[in-house]
C-alpha cells in the first residue's frame, strides 16, 4: 500500500513542474504540454484521495475517479482547441514563440 503522502507529494512535484513550464518556456507547444502535466497532477491527487476515502455519504464512492474522467475529457477538448490555435498562429507568424503574439495590449 502506497501511503497517501507519496501520492500527494508526486502530484505536487508534477504540478510544480507544470507551473514552472508554463511560466518559463516560450514554446507554445511546450506550454500546452506543461498544462497537461498540471491537469494530470490533479488527476493523480483525485485518484489518490478516492483511494483513501472510498466511501461517501451513500456507501461506496467513486467521486474522485469520476472527476478524473471529467478532467480527461475536458483536457482532450482543450488540447484540440489549443493545438488549433497553435497551427493558426504558426501560419500567421511562422513561429510558435509565445512572445511573438503580444499585440493585444495597451
Amino acid at each position: 500500500m502506497i501511503p497517501l503522502d507519496h501520492v500527494i507529494g508526486l502530484s505536487a512535484i508534477l504540478f510544480t513542474i507544470g507551473v514552472v513550464g508554463v511560466v518559463t518556456r516560450r514554446n507554445v507547444i511546450v506550454i500546452l504540454m506543461s498544462i497537461e502535466l498540471m491537469l494530470n497532477a490533479v488527476n493523480l491527487a483525485f485518484v489518490g484521495g478516492n483511494r483513501l476515502w472510498p466511501t461517501g455519504p451513500a456507501g461506496v464512492s467513486y467521486d474522485g475517479q469520476v472527476f478524473v474522467l471529467m478532467v480527461i475529457t475536458v483536457a482532450a477538448a482543450e488540447v484540440a482547441v489549443g493545438l488549433g490555435i497553435v497551427i493558426s498562429m504558426f501560419r500567421n507568424r511562422d513561429s510558435v514563440n509565445i512572445d511573438d503574439v503580444s499585440l493585444l495590449k495597451w
Binding site: V19, V22, V23, T24, I98, D99, V101, S102, L103, L104, K105, W106
Partner: protein, 676 residues
C-alpha cells in the same frame, strides 16, 4: 360596527370603464388601425351606462338591506402589505358602497353617462388624423374609472390611487388639443398645483397611520377600521416647536384639507381651475364641475368622524370655503369668457360645500354637491352648445340675442341659471339654504360672519349668472355679421342630454326639502337625503334653529337672489350702456377684477419664478450638471483615465506569461490567506 354585506358585482362598476379605456389604449397605441366610430361610441358610452345601471342596482340593494347602517363590500385581495406585528400595514383592493359612496357613484356615472352621450356630438368634428375622437373617449373612460376608484375605495390608499388617476386624466384632457402650447401649459399648471395638494394628502395618510401605530392600535388604513379605532387617537396632543400643544387630529385634518383644497380648487390652490377651461367643454362639465373637483368635499365628508373631533381644522375649512366662495364670485363678475365665468362660479360653489362641511353640515355639503353636479354640468354643456352654435366663440361680448336663434339651448340654459341663482323651488334653493342655515347655527367661531359672507355670495352669484345669461341670450347680437348669420342650433345628440339635466336641476332639490315644510304637512323625516346619509355621519348635537328664523333666512336668500337678478336685468337689459360707465367710474376695481386680483401674477412672482431660478441655478447647474454629471459621472471617468494612463496600463503587457505569473502570485496569496 357596521355590517358588511359581500357583493361581488361592485368590482364591475369601476372595471367596465377601465376595460373600455384599455381597449382604446391598445387600439391607439399598439394596433394602430382605425377603430370604427360606432365601436368607439358603443364601447365607451356602453361601459359608463352599464356602470350607471350597476350603481343603481347597488343603490337599490343597499336600501333594501335590513338595518340602516349596513354597507356593501367587495373585497378582492390584499393589494400590498409591509411590516410585521402591530406595525403591519396592509391595503386591500376592496370596494365599499355605503350611503355616501352610493350617492357619489350615482352622480359620477349618471351625469357621466349624459356627458359621454353629449361628447359624441361635441367631439364629432375633432381631428380624425390623430384619432382625437377615440383618444378623447379613452381618457374619459379612464377618468370615470379613476373617479369611481376614488369614491368606491375602501381605504385611504385606494382612494389616493383614484385621486392621482383623476388628476392625471384631468391633465390629459385639459391639454387634449395639445398642439396649442397654451393648452399644454394649462394642463401642466393643473397637474402641478394638484401635486401640491396631493403632497398634503399623503402626509395626512402617513400621520394617521403613524398615530395608530403609536397608539398601539393595529388599525390599518381601511375606513371602517379607522372609524372604529379613531377614538383612541382623538385626544392625542403633540408639542409644537413654540411650546403650545396641538391636537394631532387637527394637524392630520389640515393635511387632508390641503389635498382637498388642491383638488377642489380652494384658496390658495384654486388657480388651476379657471385655466382648466382650455380643455374641451364636456371635460369642463364632467371633470371640472360635476365630479373631480368635488372629490375634496367627498374626502372631508368621508373623514367626517375625524373632522368632528378636530374643531380647528373644521373652522379653517369653513372659513376657507366661505372666503373662496366670495372671492371667486367677485372675480366672476368681470369675466367675459363664458367658460371662465362658469369656472369661477364652480370655485365659488365648491366654497359653499366646504363651508357646509366645515360647519358640520355634511349632508348639506353632499346635497349641494349633487345639485351642483346637475346644474353646473347643465350650464357647462349649455355653454358648450352655445360655443358650438357660435362656431367656437367664447367671448360673451361677441354674443347677444341668441334667445331666438337657438331656442332649445336657451330654455335649458335658462333653467340652469334659474337653478344656480337659488330661485324658489329649484335645486340650489334648497341646497344653498341648507348651507346658510348650517352656517348660521354652527359653533364655528364667527359663524354669523360666515352666514353673512355666504348670503352676500348668493346675491353676487345671482348677479353674475343673470349677467351671463342676459349678455348671451338677450339684447342685440354683437357678433360679426357673417358669424351671426351662421348661428345654428346644435345637433339633437347635444341638446337632448341637456333636457335630462335641466329636469334634474329643477327637481334635484326635492331630495332635501327642509323639515320645516315637512312639519307644515305633518310629514316626518322630510329630508330624504339626510335620512339616507345620516347613519354614517358622526353623532352630533342637533343645532336647532327656530322656524321663524329659518323662514326668515329663506326669505333673505331669495330676496338677495332677486336683488342680484334685478340689478343684472337693469344693467344688461334695460340700460345696457350703464355697465361700461360703472366700469369707468370704478376703473381701479374693475381692472383688479378683470385681472383676477393679480393672484396669478403674484404666484408667478413669489413662487414660480424664484422656483424656476432656483431650479436653474442650483438644481440644474450646480447639482445636476455640477455634482452629478461633473463630479460623480465625469469625475469617475477622469480619475480612472488618469490612473490607468500613468500606471495601471503597464500591467496589460500582452505577454500571456506575465498574466500567468500574476495569477500564480494571486492564487498563492489567497491560498496563504486561507490556509496560513
Amino acid at each position: 360596527m357596521v355590517n358588511e354585506t359581500p357583493e361581488s358585482l361592485l368590482r364591475w362598476i369601476p372595471l367596465l370603464p377601465l376595460l373600455a379605456a384599455a381597449f382604446h389604449g391598445v387600439a391607439i397605441g399598439i394596433v394602430r388601425r382605425p377603430t370604427p366610430r360606432w365601436a368607439v361610441i358603443a364601447l365607451s358610452c356602453g361601459a359608463v351606462v352599464l356602470s350607471f345601471l350597476l350603481s343603481c342596482y347597488a343603490f337599490i340593494e343597499l336600501v333594501s338591506l335590513p338595518g340602516g347602517s349596513s354597507v356593501l363590500v367587495d373585497r378582492l385581495y390584499t393589494w400590498f402589505g409591509a411590516g410585521i406585528g402591530s406595525t403591519r400595514f396592509t391595503a386591500d383592493l376592496a370596494f365599499r358602497v355605503d350611503p355616501l359612496s352610493a350617492v357619489m357613484i350615482l352622480v359620477v356615472t349618471g351625469v357621466g353617462s349624459l356627458i359621454h352621450v353629449y361628447s359624441i356630438g361635441y367631439m364629432d368634428d375633432d381631428d380624425r388624423d390623430d384619432r382625437g375622437f377615440q383618444r378623447f373617449f379613452c381618457y374619459m373612460n379612464l377618468f370615470t374609472f379613476s373617479m369611481l376608484m376614488l369614491v368606491l375605495g375602501d381605504n385611504l390608499v385606494l382612494m389616493f390611487l383614484g385621486w392621482e388617476g383623476v388628476g392625471l386624466c384631468s391633465y390629459l384632457l385639459i391639454g387634449f388639443w395639445y398642439s396649442d402650447r397654451a393648452n399644454a401649459y394649462c394642463g401642466s399648471k393643473a397637474f402641478i398645483v394638484n401635486r401640491i395638494g396631493d403632497f398634503g394628502f399623503l402626509i395626512g395618510i402617513f400621520l394617521l397611520f403613524k398615530a395608530f401605530v403609536d397608539a398601539g392600535v393595529p388599525a390599518g388604513v381601511g375606513f371602517a377600521e379607522i372609524a372604529e379605532h379613531f377614538e383612541k387617537i382623538a385626544g392625542v396632543a403633540i408639542a409644537t416647536p413654540w411650546g403650545s400643544e396641538w391636537l394631532l387630529v387637527n394637524v392630520i385634518g389640515l393635511c387632508f384639507f390641503v389635498g382637498a383644497a388642491g383638488k377642489s380648487a380652494q384658496i390658495p390652490l384654486y388657480v388651476w381651475l379657471p385655466d382648466a377651461m382650455a380643455g374641451p367643454t364636456p371635460v369642463s362639465a364632467l371633470i371640472h364641475a360635476a365630479t373631480m373637483v368635488t372629490a375634496g368635499v367627498y374626502m372631508v365628508c368621508r373623514l367626517s368622524f375625524l373632522y368632528a373631533a378636530a374643531p380647528v381644522a373644521s373652522a379653517l375649512i369653513a372659513w376657507t370655503g366661505a372666503l373662496t366662495a366670495l372671492f371667486a364670485a367677485t372675480i366672476a363678475i368681470a369675466q367675459t369668457d363664458i367658460k371662465k365665468v362658469l369656472a369661477y362660479s364652480t370655485v365659488s360653489q365648491l366654497g359653499y360645500m366646504f363651508l357646509a362641511a366645515g360647519c358640520g353640515g355634511y349632508t348639506g355639503a353632499i346635497f349641494h354637491l349633487v345639485t351642483h353636479a346637475f346644474f353646473k354640468a347643465l350650464l357647462f354643456l349649455g355653454a358648450g352648445a352655445v360655443i358650438l352654435a357660435m362656431h367656437h366663440e367664447q367671448d360673451i361680448e361677441k354674443m347677444g340675442g341668441l334667445r331666438r336663434r337657438i331656442p332649445r339651448t336657451h330654455i335649458v340654459f335658462f333653467t340652469g341659471v334659474y337653478a344656480i341663482s337659488g330661485f324658489p323651488l329649484a335645486s340650489a334653493f334648497f341646497s344653498k339654504d341648507e348651507i346658510l342655515v348650517t352656517a348660521w347655527a354652527s359653533h364655528v367661531p364667527g359663524h354669523q360672519a360666515l352666514y353673512t359672507i355666504a348670503l352676500l355670495t348668493a346675491g353676487i352669484t345671482a348677479f353674475y349668472m343673470w349677467r351671463l345669461y342676459f349678455k348671451t341670450f338677450h339684447g342685440e347680437s354683437r357678433a360679426a355679421v357673417e358669424a351671426a348669420q351662421h348661428v345654428h342650433e346644435p345637433a339633437a345628440l347635444i341638446v337632448n342630454p341637456l333636457f335630462v339635466l335641466a329636469f334634474l336641476s329643477v327637481f334635484g332639490g326635492m331630495l332635501g326639502i327642509p323639515q320645516i315644510y315637512g312639519d307644515w304637512f305633518g310629514i316626518e323625516n322630510m329630508h330624504s337625503l339626510n335620512n339616507f346619509l345620516a347613519p354614517i355621519w358622526p353623532p352630533a348635537e342637533p343645532h336647532q334653529v327656530a322656524h321663524v328664523t329659518e323662514l326668515l333666512m329663506t326669505g333673505a336668500a331669495v330676496g338677495i337672489a332677486l336683488l342680484g337678478f334685478g340689478i343684472a336685468h337693469h344693467l344688461y337689459v334695460q340700460r345696457p350702456e350703464l355697465p361700461g360707465r360703472i366700469a369707468e367710474r370704478l376703473a381701479g376695481f374693475h381692472t383688479l377684477l378683470v385681472h383676477k386680483y393679480y393672484v396669478d401674477e403674484l404666484y408667478d412672482a413669489v413662487v414660480v419664478r424664484p422656483l424656476v431660478k432656483f431650479s436653474d441655478a442650483v438644481l440644474f447647474r450646480a447639482v445636476d450638471a455640477g455634482l452629478i454629471d461633473g463630479v460623480a459621472v465625469n469625475g469617475t471617468a477622469t480619475a480612472v483615465r488618469a490612473l490607468a494612463a500613468n500606471g495601471l496600463r503597464r500591467f496589460q503587457s500582452g505577454l500571456a506569461q506575465s498574466y500567468v505569473a500574476s495569477m500564480l502570485v494571486g492564487t498563492g496569496a489567497i491560498l496563504w490567506y486561507l490556509l496560513g
